[in-house]
Amino acid sequence: MTLIYQNAAAAAQPGTHVLAIGVGRYPHLLGGAGETADRPLGLRQLESPPVSLKAVLDWFLRPSVVAGAVGFRNPSAPLASVEALVSNDNPFALEALPEIPAIDAATRNNIQEAFEAWLARLKSHPDHIGVFYFCGHGFMVANHSLLAEDFGHSNAQPWAHAFDMTNTIRALEREVSGSVFFFIDSCRGIAREVALTLGADPHALLVADLNKGVSRKSATAIYATGEGELAFAPKGGEVSRFTSALVCALSGYCGVRKPGAAAWTVDGEGLAMAVRLLLEFEARARASHRQVSDQTVQGSPVPLLQLAATPKVKVWLDLLPPERRALYELYLKSFTGARFAQSLLNQVFEVDVPRGFYEVGAQDPQGTLPAVAHLQEDLFPPVYVLTLEA
């Protein structure tokens, strides 16, 4: 089965419909159990996509099981359905829904069927919100293609079991009235072999009828990496870099509040910026394999999330020269009076604080060494990085 969650009570009102796909097992790619494709494009088995998929699904589903848990929250468009496909050698289980039956494999046919079912639900109300998440292999030529589990099954049609995401998005924008969010966690490296093969282009999941105008309210596409670049995950079956940043951003590290409103809202633009900055923050100490998210945000802003709590900021505060760290207190003092501090420790001060204006500084508790302070720092989600010099 693919439909793992459905909120029948929400059918008549705007809701959020999720289609999430994770492909780690590719039998015809390098290291796979099947016959290796004649042209595997250098692609191999992946450990991260099922784990990343689990992180996303748990994030969406957790509040529907445990009230108040960190996860999806949007009173204007509550979670209405979650459809999932996973290709993995190991059993797949969710913390949020431990009893779900086995989820279908992410073959090209299954993806097509799940997509069409998801699309039908999405079109059933003009204010529905759609979320499409994919984690697995991908490549680019003119368009961005994503690879289903059975990619490489046919040497006569070597790229048949993939789909054209670029044109799928263009087609979808003409079919729905609501808003759609695409989170695409895959590489976008240029596949020269595909480019040099006539008739090789994978098909989109939906044909784009250009007689129709663009009908969606908003469309946000956040890609794990830039055109021609790779996306990465730590080895050993961990959540990918991009999905980590995405789930983190969604978990309270972005959001704005309209004048007079009580809730903080997260739309495509805010989410895109937060994901990009979190990826950069994570990569700050990395010399190679940099990964910079690519994003397109179109249409009017429509919130994916509505949060009750003030968004948080990851603070990374250092003091130079290093030998001074253990002699100082590093602190942040909010304009609302809250104070966060680290005293006399020879390490970077890392803390999460609510967004807002702060005095940020370093002072000698003995009062001997000179103090350093920045009086009106705007701590805006998701990260604040500063190195003070004493």
């Binding site: 390098l30 290291g31 290796t36 494709a37 004649d38 042209r39 595997p40 494009l41 250098g42 692609l43 191999r44 992946l46 450990e47 991260s48 996509p49 984690c135 697995g136 292999h137 991908g138 490549f139 040497n155 966690d185 895959s186 590489c187 976008r188 490296g189 240029i190 596949a191 020269r192 072999e193 794990a224 790779l230 996306a231 990465f232 995950a233 730590p234 080895k235 990918s240 394999h289």
Partner: protein, 388 residues
């Protein structure tokens, strides 16, 4: 710790020269720098270019039996140039373009040819560095696994994919393939397409066509240098250009890390020897690596400024001392390279070592830096204590 690369004769600042430099620098950084206990990024490479002072032919080599021989073009685009280099490489090293078939006979050699073919098309130093890193892994894998099981069932389409997969030691999982695979597949295609049925003959004919012009430029550059090298007080333009590069490299040294390595190809060796013995005997060189050079031959002919017919007193028994400013000297030669000579019979405390470029006769002379294994051999030598 800078490396100074001294080019030889018959080099002009054209596209081929720049591509060679980019590929060479990439492999020097990734393979040779670690042997010097340096990170690849930390290695400074200085390449004084003295070809601009080389010979000019007043009649544009109209004296050649066939004046058209002076210029040979495969095409204007870089891929044509790369393919031409590969055609020569394959034809003259007795290797066919069917690298998968070859790999089943001699896996390690096929890997070497694959990467040499990829090097021929490297457009930038960054690309060459990626190739060098990948080459080290693949060559090591091939050495440890001369008959990997997958090779028996590999196809021409997935041979490179499987090699790259088997040799990979990446610390991260990527959701796609890197650009290195494109470069290697392009190399495979280049190798397969560089030699159509009659291409061996074509390649041989091409280098024969070039031979007249090449010999003319080789001799011409050497004669120009000998005529215009000047004196210690008033060095000629070539010596000045090279000295500037050497001194700039020397000035780059950091406190406690003041090693200077000089790699001199071909006639570059003679220029360095003249500098070490006459023009600047105080300029300390920690390791001199002469490659395909004629330093020993020119001393036998007593053509250096410092050459004296009465030294050594009883040739061929005696030896000249190694220049005092040169602390270590490795001399690389290939018996197929008719322009490379030994040094050890003439100069004391020089380590001659043989490297098989895989090229034949005249083409071997330019083949050293086109072979990935050349850099690993040099790196291995640099790791050895002096004199072994």
């Amino acid at each position: 710790m800078p490396i100074v690369f001294m080019h030889g004769v018959n080099n002009r600042d054209d596209e081929a020269y720049r591509e060679n430099e980019a590929a060479r620098n990439g492999f020097l950084r990734e393979i040779v720098a670690p042997a010097l206990s340096l990170t690849p990024d930390a290695l400074c490479i200085v390449s004084p270019y003295w070809g601009k002072y080389g010979v000019e032919f007043a009649w544009g080599l109209a004296v050649l039996p066939d004046p058209e021989d002076a210029v040979e073009r495969f095409g204007a685009d870089p891929e044509s140039v790369a393919r031409a280099r590969v055609a020569g490489l394959l034809a003259e090293s007795g290797t066919s373009g069917e690298l998968l078939t070859n790999a089943r006979q001699d896996f390690a050699r096929s890997v070497e040819v694959l990467y040499a073919t990829a090097m021929a098309g490297a457009q930038s130093e960054a690309e060459a560095r990626d190739l060098a890193k990948s080459y080290v892994r693949s060559a090591q894998y091939a050495a440890q696994n001369p008959k990997p099981p997958w090779l028996a069932t590999a196809t021409a389409g997935n041979f490179v994919d499987q090699l790259n997969y088997a040799a990979d030691a990446s610390g991260e999982e990527s959701f796609g393939a890197g650009g290195i695979l494109n470069a290697l597949k392009e190399a495979l295609s280049r190798a397969a397409n560089a030699l159509p049925a009659d291409a061996s003959e074509l390649a041989v004919r091409l280098w024969r066509k070039r031979l007249n012009a090449t010999v003319a430029r080789f001799a011409g550059d050497a004669f120009v240098y000998l005529k215009e090298r000047g004196t210690q007080d008033t060095p000629g333009p070539i010596v000045k250009e090279v000295l500037e590069g050497l001194r700039a490299a020397r000035a780059m040294h950091e406190a406690g890390d003041d090693q200077l390595i000089v790699i001199a190809h071909s006639f570059g060796g003679e220029i360095i020897y003249d500098i070490a013995t006459t023009f600047d005997p105080d300029l300390s060189i920690d390791c001199l690596i002469t490659v395909g050079s004629q330093v020993g031959l020119f001393e036998e002919m007593k053509l250096y400024v410092a050459s004296r017919k009465d030294l050594p007193p009883e040739p061929p028994k005696g030896h000249l001392p190694r220049p005092a400013s040169v602390k270590r000297w490795l001399n690389v030669f290939d018996t197929n390279d008719v322009l490379s000579y030994r040094v050890a019979p003439v100069v004391r405390e020089v380590d001659d070592f043989y490297y098989d470029t895989g090229f034949s006769t005249f083409s071997a002379h330019g083949g050293y830096f086109m072979r990935p294994s050349f850099y690993t051999r040099v790196a291995a030598r640099l790791r050895e204590p002096s004199g072994t």
